[in-house]
């Protein structure tokens, strides 16, 4: 296993990584360049850097960024917290019960993992309309919960198999209720799974485009991604502003991800290594 040329691997890795990074580099540096410079030379370094683009987006009179940021933060945080609670309990229930109907529910949920939203969007609008929740924030959150619950259950119930059943039995013998046992004893043990679910769903829901575009009508405002889409026309000639808006829209979720990166990657690869 001795490498014949010791510097070859780092060099190749660096070059490949560098090429891969170019689009991100372009996106990043153009935030700090004037629109004129963006059009003429996209690759050049921003010297001197300008913060005009960021300031323009942050202080724009229509406050597009701030209002869609608020919407996105609300939608994402509400959705992932409700999802974590509901799918942890459901996952626990399905992992511990072995009745025919719990198996049916599990199979139906697993099928839900591969259903593309496009297939159900048309009837979803009808269902939400019937509930009086079409084009409301609550409606979008409700859809997110319904659509992503299979993923949460999948992660939690898989993880639950590794939690010793004896713990719960002991608690039951001590007279604890199911509710107490779950929240006081089991749930704290599920932290890695919870972290994975929070991060995965956080990233997906934050970045979601199609569902808010259809479900969360235009009157109430936009989420951050539909906001970007809708301002493409407005920023058509203002590349710097566009890149600044995209940068600001990505920053919160990127920070969220970086903070919890370890759990994220672990959650992602848990199945691949087969233990």
């Amino acid at each position: 296993m001795r490498p014949t040329v010791p510097w070859l691997r780092p060099l190749v890795a660096l070059v490949v990584g560098g090429v891969f990074f170019i689009p991100l580099y372009i996106a990043l540096i153009n935030v700090f360049k004037e629109s004129r410079q963006v059009a003429s030379g996209a690759m050049s370094l921003p010297i001197p850097p300008t913060f005009d683009n960021l300031i323009r987006v942050l202080t724009s009179p229509d406050s597009l960024f701030w209002s869609s940021l608020r919407t996105s933060v609300l939608v994402t945080s509400l959705s992932i917290i409700i999802l974590t609670v509901l799918s942890a309990m459901l996952g626990h229930y399905l992992a511990r019960q072995n009745t025919w109907w719990s198996r049916v529910i599990m199979v139906l949920l697993l099928c839900g993992l591969m259903i593309p939203p496009q297939v159900i969007l048309i009837p979803i609008t009808q269902v939400l309309k019937a509930l009086g929740l079409m084009s409301t924030l609550q409606g979008l959150v409700l859809f997110n919960v319904g659509y992503y619950v299979p993923f949460g259950v999948f992660v939690f119930s898989g993880f639950m198999k590794g939690v010793p059943r004896e713990l719960e039995e002991a608690a039951a013998i001590d007279g604890a209720t199911r509710w107490q046992t779950f929240w006081k004893i089991v749930f704290p043990l599920l932290r890695p799974a919870t972290a994975s679910v929070l991060i995965f769903l956080g990233v997906w829901i934050w970045n979601d485009f199609l569902n808010p575009l259809i479900i969360y009508g235009p009157r109430e405002g936009t989420t951050i991604m539909t906001g970007i889409y809708k301002s493409l026309g407005q920023y058509a000639a203002d590349f710097g502003g566009m890149f600044a808006l995209m940068f600001l829209a990505t920053l919160p979720i990127l920070v969220f991800y970086l903070l919890l990166q370890k759990q994220f990657v672990k959650g992602l690869t848990g199945g691949a290594t087969k233990g």
Partner: protein, 437 residues
């Protein structure tokens, strides 16, 4: 584990806080009735109206704000909430998507697929239409759904005088043969003769050729197509016109690489000197006058074989009101005020080079040179009774079937890129027509 556990604990604390805040906020927002949900006048006795507009290079968000402010200043009882469509070219699709999901704003501007939107729109009465020059323009099944506020000529040919000079062209072409000869001269000098672009832009020369070669002879062609008397693929005039359009691409007068760029980019390309001629609607005059090269831009009407003037025009494009608007009276009041206030019309002339079709209205005198040229061309066509419909831009009962406009535009791109032959393209349009009907 303890370290990670710490992070997760903090996350939970943060999460719980967010949840509390979020719940509080969403409770608030669900308690406040928004304009769309309440029929009663909102606080302060104001009548709320939501208004779907579209941003374009000519019409940024600030323009719409200013226009609405003019109306609300004169009508303090109205309160208007702006809703922006993603882009100019997508405003129609967007409105239809909103209508289909029950979210159409109370008032819309510039809807094109009126037939598809018919069930969602309120009808205007003759009394409400008394100030409009053409109170029957754009009728759908005899009903007027959209205020016929302005006329547009689609397209004119804008050209760069400098680039024409460079290619040794002394004056704008008079006949179609002249136009081709000039294009050849430009190409020989390495200048792209025609600037083109994506979405509807590609089809502009096609619309122009159909005006001089098809509509000039058969002004009711579309009605005949709707009656099944003619078809795209079997009509010789349609086929010849389409062949002429396709030849422009095969001869290299159109740069087919430009069909990937959106409308704002296309405009920028012409104003940046990336081509000599730009077939485009009258609204481009506003952008031309606002640019630094306004004195370099000339205008001529797309010439036919015999050189006679046939100007494709379209009247309509104004405001329409949703049939389910909660406050119909306020919505209609706003729409009429928006369309009939002189300051609003003046602003639309300056920003979007519209020709208001309102009785007794004349455009302000301080418009730019390009607008004047385009306006004069239209007046000349009116005097000579030389106006014809603008193909794919017609409205209501004389328009293509719902959804066909987009198909026509994308077919123009297929012809320019060489993806479809003339026969394939026309057969495709017939097939899609049957599907829409």
């Amino acid at each position: 584990m303890s370290e990670k556990g710490g992070t997760v604990n903090k996350l939970f604390a943060a999460g719980a806080m967010t949840l509390a805040v979020a719940l509080a906020l969403s409770a608030c927002s669900s308690n406040t009735p928004s304009g769309s949900q309440s029929s009663a006048p909102a606080s302060g006795g104001k009548q709320k109206v939501s208004f779907l507009v579209f941003p374009s290079p000519n019409l940024p968000e600030s323009y719409w704000k200013a226009q609405v402010d003019l109306v609300t200043k004169a009508n303090p009882d109205l309160e208007v909430e702006l809703v922006a469509a993603p882009s100019e070219s997508e405003r129609n699709d967007y409105a239809k998507q909103l209508a289909a999901s029950g979210q159409l704003p109370d008032v819309q501007i510039g809807m094109q697929d009126l037939i598809a939107l018919e069930p969602s729109l309120a009808t205007w009465t003759p009394e409400e239409l008394k100030d409009f020059l053409c109170p029957t323009c754009g009728a759908v099944n005899g009903k007027i759904l959209q205020l016929p506020t302005n006329t547009q000529t689609i397209p004119n040919v804008y050209y760069s005088k400098k680039l024409f000079q460079k290619a040794g062209i002394a004056e704008p072409p008079k006949t179609y043969a002249d136009l081709l000869a000039d294009a050849e001269k430009l190409k020989a000098k390495g200048i792209t003769p025609f600037v083109t672009g994506g979405v509807f832009v590609t089809s502009q020369p096609w619309t122009a050729i159909l005006a001089t070669d098809l509509y000039a002879k058969t002004p009711d062609w579309m009605t005949k197509r709707r009656g099944g008397e003619v078809k795209f693929a079997t009509d010789p005039a349609m086929k010849a016109a389409t062949q002429k359009f396709t030849d422009l691409a095969t001869k290299g007068y159109l740069d087919k690489r430009q069909i990937g760029q959106d409308y704002p980019k296309t405009q920028e390309a012409f104003l940046g000197g990336k081509g000599a001629m730009y077939p485009m609607g009258s609204w481009f005059a506003a952008a031309a006058d606002a640019s630094s090269m306004k004195d370099d831009i000339g205008v001529f009407a797309w010439p036919g074989d015999d050189g006679a003037l046939h100007m494709p025009t379209f009247t309509g494009g104004g405001l329409s009101v949703s049939a389910t608007a909660k406050n119909m009276a306020a919505a209609k009041k706003f729409a009429l005020a928006f369309q009939l206030t002189k300051e609003n019309l003046d602003a639309s002339v300056k920003a979007d080079a519209l020709f208001p079709a309102i009785k007794g209205y004349t455009p302000p005198s301080d418009t730019g040179p390009v607008f004047k040229a385009v306006y004069d061309l239209w007046q000349k066509a009116l005097n000579e009774k030389a106006t014809v419909p603008a193909f794919s831009w017609e409205a209501g009962d004389t328009a293509m079937l719902p959804g066909m406009q987009g198909k026509f535009w994308s077919t123009a791109q297929d012809l320019v890129s060489g993806k479809k032959t003339v026969d394939q393209a026309l057969a495709f349009l017939d097939t899609e027509w049957e599907k829409s009907g």
